[in-house]
């Protein structure tokens, strides 16, 4: 669309919508400096301890639970991203460029999670693992400390499961414009299939794969519902932790956490944008 | 006096440029286009021809000056209230509508009743030879067919003027030639004024009744194909249309409408002088290659000598490149009358090139 003179009404509505989008975030950030511990009303800027106005931020770093949750979240995100990106890219290649028995069925199955409400998938996985663990535990008569339970493993595995369809989708979109003749040219010049893949195909689809990976990472980082049903002791992620907090006392520490989260993401995005601009 | 179909009177158009400066796309253009004419706006990219067309259509408003359609000033009238229709370069067919719905669109906006719409749509499609295509979608049609739909969609509204923006640009050569004849036929049949924009001078010469040659926002010359080709009024027009030879020299003698021009190397020739010149003035003489002859011809007063640098055989003609004494180069086009291939001169050979005074024109700019 070409830029035309904008109707002032349109601009006004747009500003209001942007305001609606940002009001909660601004409130979050402001209240992270709240002097009041109960964080209901804003009682002025806090000024306590060595960190002064950033009191709650410092408290955050001393909070063991938060640090654990952050660590878990990151471990889960990284692991599931790597695995789902690899598997998803392979699937995208398969669907886009090959014909094989059961292709239609595979495609439908692969994309099914996208139209499935997360809770359905979460419950399903919970039921599945409960049953499987139950049988294994009874069959092998494991001692309580050795029993298989929900935990980091189940969370990672379920994150991989819901990320794969999205990675496949993104990579496939990128494969769409791919010129097969580039690979033929490489092979004509003496490269075998693996070398061709490594030196020609992979670099060219890399942006798509990267985009898919970023999507998987974001989905994992932010996920609540599926994690909620597949998590166990010691595998608390940040979203789960925050949810737990909301049921108890909420101090401005949570706001500090939120604010840090926002800025970290902003920085990561800025960096990735910078990378993209370079290519 | 019958009013003009379209008139531009002292029209200027300025745009804000990318760096903040002002770009003048159209400079004081005045044009009169007659009813029932097939009129071309011809020129290279950026000459202002498309902008002029868009101002007639109403997509741009003139910064200064006025546009009249059948004597009525258009002022700030928006496009949907003007009695003109446009065929866009990219056809701009609505992808979500069928061909029939596309063609019917303008009539629907005007509130024509359904039966009448159906009848006129069928009529319009028949006129472009796409009867029966009503239910298809644009993406199912080839480029040539889409273009004809765009034509039908415009013509069905019976506009007073039809505007065409580089309509044949996207077609391959053969299709383009067919469509040129097709458009010409249509225009005769429908009888309204067609104004079309093109950068292809051959196309303009083939199809138009009159042509306006534009460059740098200015209309350099307006006339029939013959007028523009045989009597270009400036160097740009002479160069842009067809192939021309340019010879630089100084005026040595003036005799009413003729002048003797001296070229370096001791060459002298007489040329037709439509403008006033003075002795000693530096001028350019233009001569079309086909008006120059290596064959002897009694009526050709002008004779220049040089030697042949290259020969190109094209079947219908043979082109000779000649370097004159004094260093200037010309190209001579001789028709191959005889079935035997016989060169009039060989490479490196000295030749005498002749042409008449009427074939040579003096240009001062």
């Amino acid at each position: 669309m070409s830029a035309k003179k904008q109707s002032p009404w349109l601009a006004l509505i747009s500003i209001l919508v942007y305001f609606f989008l940002y009001a909660p975030i601004i409130v979050l950030i402001i209240f992270s400096f709240n002097a009041s511990r109960t964080n209901v009303v804003f009682e002025g800027v806090v000024n306590q301890g060595p960190c002064g106005p950033f009191y709650w931020y410092c408290e955050l770093f001393r909070n063991r639970s938060v640090m654990d949750a952050t660590r878990n979240t990151l471990i889960i995100a990284f692991t599931s991203t790597v695995v789902s990106t690899i598997i998803g890219t392979m699937a995208a290649l398969a669907l886009q460029r090959y014909d094989f028995f059961g292709k239609k069925v595979s495609e439908t199955t692969l994309y099914f999670p996208i139209v499935t409400p997360e809770i359905v998938m979460g419950i399903g996985i919970l039921v599945f693992f409960s049953a499987v663990f139950g049988w294994i535990n009874t069959a092998l008569a494991l001692a309580p400390s050795q029993r298989l339970t929900m935990g980091l493993g189940t969370v990672i595995v379920s994150h991989i499961a819901f990320s794969i369809p999205f990675v496949t989708l993104v990579v496939r979109a990128r494969l769409h414009g791919f010129d097969d003749r580039l690979e033929e040219a490489a092979m004509d010049l003496g490269a075998d299939e693996f070398t061709t893949f490594r030196k020609i195909t992979l670099p060219l689809i890399a942006p798509g794969v990267l985009a898919g990976a970023m999507l998987a990472f974001t989905l994992s980082l932010d996920d609540f519902i599926i994690t909620f049903f597949t998590t166990g002791p010691g595998a608390t992620t940040l979203p789960i932790y925050v949810y737990g907090l909301l049921r108890r006392i909420v101090t401005p520490e949570l706001n500090a956490l939120s604010t840090i989260w926002v800025f970290v993401v902003l920085i990561v995005v800025a960096i990735s944008q910078w990378f993209q601009r370079r290519e | 006096m019958a009013e003009y179909a379209v008139e531009l009177r002292n029209v200027w158009k300025r745009f804000p440029g990318p760096g903040g400066e002002v770009v003048t796309a159209v400079k004081n253009v005045s044009l009169q286009i007659y009813d029932g004419e097939f009129f071309a706006l011809l020129g290279p990219s950026g000459c202002g021809k498309t902008t002029s067309l868009r101002m007639i259509a109403g997509f741009e408003l003139p910064s200064e000056g006025e546009i009249f359609i059948h004597g009525r000033p258009m002022g700030k009238t928006p496009p949907y209230q003007r009695p003109v229709n446009t065929v866009f370069q990219s056809y701009a067919l609505f992808p979500h509508m069928t061909i029939g719905e596309n063609v019917a669109f303008g009539l629907q906006m005007k509130g024509v009743d359904k039966k009448e719409i159906a009848r006129r749509v069928a009529e319009a499609l028949a006129m472009v030879r796409l009867s029966g295509y009503e239910k298809r979608k644009p993406k199912q049609l080839s480029g040539g067919q889409q273009q004809r739909v765009a034509l039908a969609r415009a013509l069905v509204n019976r506009p007073e003027v039809l505007l065409l923006d580089e309509p044949l640009g996207a077609l391959d050569l053969k299709l383009r030639k067919e469509m040129q004849l097709e458009l010409k036929r249509l225009q005769r049949e429908v009888g309204i004024t067609f104004i079309f924009v093109t950068h292809d001078q051959e196309e303009a010469l083939t199809m138009s009744d009159r042509i306006a040659v534009m460059e740098g926002g200015v209309a350099l010359q307006v006339g029939t194909a013959n007028e523009i080709y045989e009597h270009p009024n400036c160097r740009f027009v002479a160069d842009f249309i067809g192939e021309t030879n340019f010879l630089e020299g100084k005026v040595a003698e003036i005799d009413t409408d003729k002048a003797r021009v001296d070229l370096p190397g001791g060459i002298s020739l007489w040329a037709h002088t439509p403008q006033r010149v003075s002795v000693g003035q530096a001028v350019t003489v233009t001569v079309r290659p086909e008006k120059m002859h290596i064959r002897p011809n009694a009526t050709d007063v002008n004779q220049v000598t040089g030697y042949v640098t290259d020969i190109v055989y094209i079947g219908t003609d043979t082109h000779y490149g000649v370097v004159l004494n004094g260093g200037q180069t010309i190209r001579v086009r001789e028709q191959n009358y005889s079935a035997e291939s016989r060169l009039l001169a060989r490479e490196g050979e000295e030749v005498c090139v002749r042409f008449s005074i009427e074939a040579a024109r003096v240009l001062t700019e």
Binding site: A3, N39, Y98, V115, V127, V262 | A92, F94
Partner: protein
Amino acid sequence: MIQQIRENRRLQGLLLILPAMFVMVMLLVIPLTLTVITSFGQRDADGNVIYTFTLENYWRLLGFTEQGWDDLYLRILLRSLWLAVQTTVIVILMAYPLAYFIARSPEKRRNFLLFLVLVPLWTNFVIRIYAWVMILRSQGVLNSTLGAIAGLLNVPFQPLDLYPSQTAVLIGMVYEFLPFMILPIYTSLEKIEPSLYEAAADLYANAFRTFWRVTVPLSMPGIVAGTILTFIPVIGTFVVSDILGGRQVILVGNLVQRQFLDARNPPFGAAASIILLVMTLVFTLYYTRRFGLREEIAAG
């Protein structure tokens, strides 16, 4: 063996998709099947599953209990559906103008404006809901601000009782999904060839008619994509209704969650889960068949 793989393209394709299929079968197909099987079961005293075949869970959900007609659960289903419809409509009404505004902005500014839309998405979803708690509660930001204004104007002020409430849940849902509608609508608006607007004007359509006959139909793929991205999660939500609705607003998601975790009635929860899935599938199939194209969803 490598040679065999090299020569047989079918085999290559199969091998490439094998890991993905393995994951999907293990973590989607089998779990769903298990859920379906469980939904036909019964619970025992400890909350474990007895695998039989009975439709009583489904009947109960639809209202036909042993004690007679009890539409408690049916109302929950309808409430969830209604919330999803309300959310989708409001989101479309808010997202379209903004998407339109961005699409008509100069190119340089567009990326920035889109970026602004995405930033809230990158905060954590639970945290965003918490922010609304802070805004909407009786002493929250909204009431404080309104109270201050009322004080200035010397007007009596009754604090709005928005939290917890169904309205709060609606606000939260709209907030969540606004970006998911803005982006697809923007994408399809942006793809519209500019000369189409001029063609419509050339054919006697003014701005208003051009909008309805050309712009809106051509942006439908975006609206469809956005609707799917909104409707499906909203139907299945439980977090937003939990936090912003207090314990009073119960949707299908809450029902499933409670039956599984609190009431320890897996078969019943499973049945609710399956009904939710069916509702979603029906909606998706109907909606895409009627309006949209699959490729557009992929693009979104």
